[in-house]
């Protein structure tokens, strides 16, 4: 997967999490996921379509989800599974939306689909043209995992691809 596609997601995750949680964040380990995706806790999946297509999954453990919810709300919230899912979906929506904004302004055209709670324990295995990059973002509320699997849309015009990779 090309770094020019990944970097906006890293930047957006860093900026949105730091802003929403009002604390410094740090990007931890990166790894290419060779095996099928395995859910860690509460996960939200956002599909993107357009010049680049694929999906991004946000995944946090339930305790982290509740801490994030309370920080984003500016007050302590009572724990509930629905709130955990809502929080992770909204966080994913904000990060992906900001990343896609940056990519659109660079000339890529995307559509972001509404977030969905990812309930499966496993996901699809990476393929040659859809490698998944997994990264961990350390925050004051806990670790947030982002799993990005994107590829160039094959229907895209070759000259457009050439223009953005120059």
């Amino acid at each position: 997967m090309r770094m020019e596609l990944i970097q906006p997601f890293i930047n957006a995750a860093d900026a949105v999490l730091a802003d929403s949680l009002q604390c410094p964040t740090s990007i931890g380990n990166f790894s290419m996921e060779e095996e099928a995706y395995r859910r860690r806790g509460v996960a939200a999946l956002i599909a993107v379509s357009g010049d680049i297509e694929g999906r991004i999954i946000f995944d946090v453990d339930p305790q982290t989800a509740m801490r994030v919810a309370s920080r984003m709300a500016g007050q302590e919230l009572p724990s509930s599974p629905d709130l955990m899912c809502e929080t992770v979906c909204e966080l994913a929506n904000q990060v992906i939306g900001n990343a896609v904004t940056s990519l659109n302004d660079q000339g890529f055209h995307f559509r972001v689909h509404p977030p969905e709670v990812h309930t499966s324990e496993h996901g699809d295995k990476s393929s040659e043209d859809t490698e998944a990059l997994v990264m961990c973002i350390e925050t004051c509320s806990g670790k947030v995992f982002m799993n990005v699997a994107l590829r160039y849309n094959r229907r895209r015009q070759p000259e457009q691809v050439a223009a953005v990779t120059d």
């Binding site: 949105v16 802003d19 929403s20 919810a69 984003m72 709300a73 500016g74 007050q75 629905d82 709130l83 809502e86 929080t87 979906c89 909204e90 929506n93 904000q94 990060v95 992906i96 939306g97 900001n98 896609v100 904004t101 940056s102 659109n104 302004d105 972001v112 689909h113 509404p114 977030p115």
Partner: protein, 145 residues
């Protein structure tokens, strides 16, 4: 949450908001900000279709409208509301803030755009700007006009 000098309507009543977002969590957060501005949530909707019917039902002073939603997206809903209610004040509130999207929203009748994550102080200034002379900033004691 930080408290702001209340923004009231010229008649001294609280500004009434319709909050449209498919995320309950986002709606609640916006609701808390609205309260901190001295406003009142008149209605909520989770998609564009419901937003249109809720607008007709509640006739709010301001709509805070997400873009990416199921069934009908926010820009189309904004366009339909403005077609029926030319004076509707709609502020798009979305994480997807690329130029084409902002231009499309403004061309279809939205008055302003705020990118998520929403900073309360930014939304507060946008609300005052969009309401213009139809609003007054009351003293913190809530003296009305």
């Amino acid at each position: 949450m930080e408290q702001f000098a209340p923004v009231k309507r010229k008649d001294g009543q609280p500004v009434r908001y319709l909050v449209v977002d498919d995320s309950v969590f986002a709606r609640k957060n916006l609701g808390r900000m609205i309260e901190s501005f001295g406003g009142q949530v008149a209605g909520e909707a989770g998609d564009g279709c419901t937003a249109i019917t809720e607008y007709d039902r509640t006739t709010p002073d301001i709509v805070l409208m997400d873009i990416t939603m199921p069934q009908m997206e926010g820009i189309e809903a904004a366009e339909r509301i403005v077609r029926s209610h030319p004076n509707a004040r709609i502020v798009m509130v979305s994480s997807v803030g690329y130029q084409d999207n902002i231009v499309a929203a403004l061309q279809r009748g939205a008055r302003h755009f705020v990118q998520k994550p929403v900073k309360p102080e930014v939304l507060y200034e946008v609300i005052k700007y969009v309401l213009g002379e139809d609003a007054v900033v009351a003293s913190a004691a809530g003296a009305g006009a």
